[in-house]
């Protein structure tokens, strides 16, 4: 019996040793030592950028957040805005006294490690979009139960937003909230409303962990869609008359990049899944530069 198994194993080993081989893949290290940058330029925030080096599979211990890099933002008219490194937050920023982004302003980003100017990362040129507003109709609300049996208020709006201006596609990020009152007095606190999905084209909306929702209006007929939000809870006797939203009009680069980040965050929690393809608008490196403009408005609930 043992002899038979030995012979059989020998034959099998002979066959199966051919089944796996180490492979040199020429793409595997081609991006090593390049830079990766994230920079979303908003009209309502200080300009900040995060910078990383790209490692390769065999240099995990050499990955770093470079502190001695040179980052320059080149604006309209070739105005040059250098970044400053914040060692505490490990980010680069442009002094807001010197420059705040404005709508329609154009930028591109250049980054390189000191002494390695010939290996610089450069972005495509982007334009900060004008802030847009939602056109809202048919607001409605109704009470329902949460999974814990509590009451919650569901709010539904039919809305539209321009999908394109001057041949530039427009995308949005929305945060919806309500002000919390006690005895009819504003407590100074706001409650972020939960996005409840869209039943027409669900994938046109990408909710983020921070409560914001990215969406592409062009995927809907006449750029008109339904927004569904809900409160966390809703006490007896509570009233809701107005809700507020912050709508950021974002460039396509920003939209695509942030959607990818959300997919990556989801994938990291879900074990084996299909790979998430990175988005980049950089040359000689990876990452993105995008723009956004924010508008804040309120909706009256009927």
């Amino acid at each position: 019996m043992n002899k038979r198994i030995y012979i059989l194993l020998s034959i099998l080993t002979l066959f199966l040793m051919a089944c796996e081989e180490r492979l040199i893949i020429d793409t595997i290290d081609q991006e090593a030592d390049k830079l990766f940058v994230e920079c979303e330029i908003s009209t309502s925030r200080r300009i900040e950028a995060s910078l990383y080096t790209i490692g390769n599979f065999n240099q995990l211990n050499k990955l770093s957040y470079p502190q001695d890099a040179v980052l320059r933002l080149v604006g309209t008219g070739d105005n040059d805005y250098p970044f400053i490194y914040d060692s505490e937050k490990k980010i680069y920023y442009v002094d807001s006294i010197r420059h705040m982004a404005t709508a329609n302003h154009e930028y591109n980003l250049i980054a390189y490690l000191k002494g390695k100017e010939d290996n610089k990362l450069e972005s495509e040129r982007i334009q900060i979009p004008n802030a847009q507003n939602l056109s809202v109709s048919k607001p409605s609300h109704k009470l329902s139960k949460t999974a814990n049996g509590l009451n919650k208020m569901n709010l539904s709006f039919q809305a539209s937003a321009p999908a394109e201006i001057n041949n530039e596609k427009l995308f949005y990020r929305i945060i919806m909230y309500r002000k919390l009152y006690e005895n009819a007095i504003y407590t100074g606190k706001n409650e972020l409303l939960n996005f409840e999905g869209n039943s027409e084209i669900p994938l046109a909306f990408t909710p983020s962990a921070d409560g914001s929702v990215l969406f592409d209006p062009s995927r809907f007929k006449n750029n008109t869609f339904t927004l569904n939000f809900s409160t966390n809870s809703f006490k007896a006797g509570e009233k809701i008359e107005t809700v507020y939203y912050a709508l950021e009009t974002v460039t396509e680069d920003t939209y695509r990049y942030l959607v990818v980040k959300e997919k990556q965050a989801y994938a990291s929690q879900n074990g084996i899944s299909d790979p998430v393809i990175n988005y980049t608008n950089m040359v000689n490196g990876y990452g993105f530069i995008g723009g956004s403009s924010k508008a804040v408005d309120s909706l009256v609930i009927k």
């Binding site: 492979l23 090593a32 490692g55 990876y286």
Partner: protein, 870 residues
């Protein structure tokens, strides 16, 4: 050359004579016949204005028969007046009236009906195909004809006859033996045996194609066809002209099959001992086919032998089979049963136990597949046939291992259990009826069940003085697809040149899907000892979904002999899910122009598909999930266009050029970063992205046939892309089955009458896979750093070219016991490591470094098989 004659007998016309002439005028022939028969034939020269001449060779035929044959083209006939034969004008209605010639074509040895046999006049002025049940019908004017009957793998037969009334002639063809390949190839070359857009696989062709482990397999034959590819070594399913695997409609005796693979797809469920033939339709889709975008694979099983008992026993390197067949009532009813099973279970078990012991653990691996085919056929009358077909197959794969180790007074227990089980159950009832003389009806009722369940259990326990940690998880994915349907087809042969086909059908699709995950991390503790597949199956709440489809088609085929065939039709369907109805109208058209030496074809089709599959691993495994069109999943639409031009190169060779263009809308895929989690009462389909696909390419096929050498070479140059708004940043990417170039060569060398040596070679671009482009991003997160691989594009990496050469000997001999067939061959004789997938592994010696490993499954594999057909 016998002349069969259908006219009445009168006076001196009964005289038996032999007469032959070459290009003689009619008056001369009449005079010579009068002299030869001593009969008094009276005619007037004024009736013979035509310059047509007569050529005839009659041996021992009645004078009256000969006269009818030679006078008919002149619209003349004879009357017997007081013993004298008088040549007179035939009445007009007699000349122009059309008569029906019909019948069925059978296998002479088994009585089995032969589908799609070619029936045509020797001058090729008219030609038709028998239908699925071997029935044919012609309308012919009064006259003499020579009709040819042809079927792949059978000797060509012909029949000369004179028709003057509706007649029925049943033909039995002799299976070809020695010159089989020659006949097949010549028919292929002359394009008499199959329709444009179809590839035909006879039983013999399947037997002689490349096989794995000695199991001859129709799917192995199909992937050598132009424009067809699969993943490496048959993994990953079938891609026809850049389409997805799920876009191929596989019919087994008319019943839809959801998965065709045993052994994770390495061997198909179609046991060659019961297969009659198979057809792959990859373009010019007739209106009678619907439900998929890329192809239809129509696999037929044989009827049992209705004249004598027989069977087949066989054994290959991996499995053995036994087939029995015979008459229940001679010439009227027959049965056929076949059983196949792998026999490697004890070996796999012994080897796995040994490997586990070597690794310091306990456990075994077991695997087997088996399938059972059956068919009962019953001719209830000459024009009505009933049959009942059934199939049951199962694959069962189990692994279990438990490793107990103790180190520094710490006890470790690692347990891994897997159980994968899947299979098809098919049953169908067929009623085929000839109605009148030129109509045919076919009714089928069927049920197709597809079951699969995958169970995994993992347990990692640590037991020490300071820590007791016991973590266990169990996963179950189970699904059952049930398709029940009825279909009625009706063929009406209006004229030899005009066939109307229409039909209606109804399908009910029911899905029951169970996903269950159990872990002591997120559930109340359950003792791991009681967690098994059956307990998870009981705990899981099924997601149940049902849809209905009603469809119909109308198809008209107009032809001018075999030179021109124009097929136009429309396939319509109404699909219902929940309370929503989705209608569809799908026009189809094809035109085939066939000269004696050249042919040209063109076709266009709109197709619709309501069921698509989602693959988590891209390998076409049985775990792929079929998804019905629903609120969030639109039906997929496909637009197929193709053309073909070819010509004969001498008597023994042909060259064919083809091109195709295909657009696919609303096809689905797994989302990036997503895995399938299906829960009842949730709209899990909303996360499934849908997009569009495009495929185009050119194909060249060269075939050559001599008595000693068969050679077939095909080459495909193609591109297949996909574009999804929610994948790959909305950018177009190459599909995993994109193959810029594919080529297959089959060389068959005949060594004597009993032995064939066959070489099968494949050279094609490697598969596309998604692989990190070399970087890892470290992103700062509130909880620390997170590592993301840097994927720059979907399917950005191309495996090295797939190259394989197989060599096989086929030996066939006959003895008193029956036909012996021995196959001996070597698969992948070059022992090339063709990759199936890539994986990143930590380097064994330096855990900080990674290395990419490509995994191939099938190295050089010798195989031998033997079968005896009796």
């Amino acid at each position: 050359m016998p002349i069969k004659e259908l006219i009445a007998q009168t006076g001196s016309v009964e005289t038996i004579i032999s007469y032959k002439c070459l290009n003689k005028p009619l008056p001369v022939v009449l005079k010579e016949l009068s002299i030869k028969s001593n009969a008094n034939i009276v005619f007037s020269d004024s009736k013979f204005k035509s310059k047509k001449t007569i050529t005839i060779n009659a041996n021992n035929e009645k004078l009256g028969d000969i006269l009818k044959v030679i006078l008919d083209p002149y619209r003349l006939t004879i009357e017997i007046i007081e013993g004298v034969i008088v040549v007179v004008n035939a009445k007009n209605e007699e000349i122009f009236k059309e008569y029906i010639l019909n019948g069925v074509i059978r296998d002479k040895t088994t009585g089995e009906l032969l589908p799609y046999a070619s029936v045509f006049l020797d001058d090729k002025s008219q030609g038709i195909y028998s239908n699925e049940k071997g029935f044919y019908a012609f309308k012919l004017k009064r006259g003499t004809y020579k009709v040819m009957f042809s079927y792949c793998g059978y000797d060509l037969d012909s029949l000369n006859f004179f028709i003057k009334r509706d007649s029925s002639i049943n033909i039995s063809l002799n299976p070809s033996t020695i010159n089989l390949e020659e006949i097949i190839v010549q028919e292929d070359l002359n394009k008499t045996s199959y329709r444009y857009g179809e590839d035909f696989y006879s039983k013999e062709k399947i037997y002689k194609a490349s096989s794995l482990l000695g199991e001859s397999d129709v799917m192995r034959s199909i992937i050598t066809s132009a424009g067809v590819t699969s993943g490496a070594d048959g993994f990953g399913g079938l891609s026809v002209r850049g389409g997805n695997n799920d876009q191929n409609f596989v019919l087994y005796d008319g019943v839809p099959v959801q998965n065709t693979g045993h052994a994770f797809g390495l061997i198909s469920i179609f046991s060659s001992s019961v297969i009659k033939d198979a057809r792959l339709i990859k373009s010019a889709f007739p209106a009678r086919y619907g439900g998929r975008l890329s192809s239809y694979l129509d696999v037929k099983t044989r009827d049992g032998n209705n004249t004598k008992f027989g069977g087949e026993v066989g054994i290959s390197t991996i499995a053995s089979h036994v087939t029995i067949e015979g008459p229940i009532a001679k010439d009227k009813a027959s049965f056929l049963f076949s059983y196949r099973r792998t026999f490697a279970d004890p070996t796999i078990k012994s080897v796995s136990e040994y490997i586990n012991q070597t690794n310091g653990s306990e456990g075994t691996t077991s695997y087997y597949f088996q399938d059972f085919n059956g068919k009962i056929s019953f001719d209830i009358s000459k024009k009505n046939q009933l049959s009942l077909s059934f199939y049951k197959g199962v694959d069962d794969f189990n692994t279990s291992s438990i490793a107990k180790k103790t180190s520094s007074k710490i006890n470790y227990v690692d347990q891994n259990d897997n159980n994968f089980k899947w299979g098809n159950n098919l049953i169908s009832f067929h009623w085929n009826a000839q109605i009148g003389k030129n109509q045919y009806s076919k009714l089928i009722l069927f049920q197709s069940n597809w079951n699969n369940n995958f169970f995994k259990f993992r347990r990692n326990a640590i037991d020490s003085l300071s820590e007791i940690n016991d973590i266990y998880t169990a996963d179950l994915k189970a699904s059952e697809i049930k398709v029940r349907g009825v279909k009625w087809d009706y063929d009406l042969q209006l004229k030899p040149s005009n066939i109307i086909r229409l039909g209606v059908g109804y399908n009910q699709n029911s899905s029951s899907i169970k996903y269950k995950n159990l872990s002591n991390l997120n559930n109340p503790p359950i003792y791991p000892e009681v967690i098994d597949k059956s307990s998870l199956l009981a705990l899981a709440t099924p997601y149940i979904y049902s849809t209905n489809e009603v469809y119909g088609y109308l198809e008209e085929e107009l032809s001018s002999g075999k030179n021109l065939v124009f097929n136009i039709g429309i396939h319509t369907s109404i699909y219902k899910f929940d309370s929503t109805y989705l209608p569809s109208i799908q026009p189809r058209m094809s035109l085939a122009l066939n000269g004696d030496y050249t042919w040209f074809n063109i076709s266009g089709s709109l197709m619709r598909q309501y069921q698509q599959s989602l693959s988590e691993n891209g390998l076409g495994f049985p775990s792929d999930l079929w998804v019905n069109a629903s609120r969030f999943i639109k039906p997929a639409d496909g637009y197929n266009f193709s053309t073909q031009f070819g010509f004969l190169m001498g008597k023994n060779a042909s060259l064919n050029f083809g091109g195709f263009y295909k657009l696919m809308n609303n096809i689905i895929s797994i989302g990036e970063g997503r895995n399938l989690v299906i829960e009842p009462n949730t709209a899990w389909q909303k996360d499934i992205p849908f997009g569009k696909g495009k495929a185009y390419g050119a194909e060249v096929t060269f075939k050559s046939e001599t008595k000693l050498l068969n050679f077939e070479l095909n080459f495909t140059y193609s591109k297949s892309t996909r574009q999804f708004e929610d994948l790959n940043n909305a950018l177009e990417y190459l599909y995993k089955f994109d193959r810029k170039y594919m080529s297959n060569a089959i060389v068959g060398v005949k060594i004597g009458h009993k032995l064939d040596l066959i070489f099968t070679g494949t050279y094609q671009e490697g598969a596309k896979v998604t692989f990190p482009s070399g970087g890892i991003i470290v992103a700062k997160q509130p909880g620390g750093s997170v590592i993301y691989p840097l994927y720059t594009s979907k399917n950005n990496y191309t495996f090295k070219d797939y190259i394989r050469l197989d060599v096989a000997f086929n030996f066939v001999s006959k003895s008193k016991a029956g036909t012996h067939r021995v196959f001996a061959g070597v698969y992948n004789v070059l022992n090339r490591k063709n990759p199936i997938y890539l994986q990143l592994d930590r380097n064994t010696f330096n855990l900080n470094t990674y290395e990419a490993n490509q995994v191939s499954i099938l190295p050089l594999l010798p195989a031998i098989s033997y079968s005896l057909t009796f």
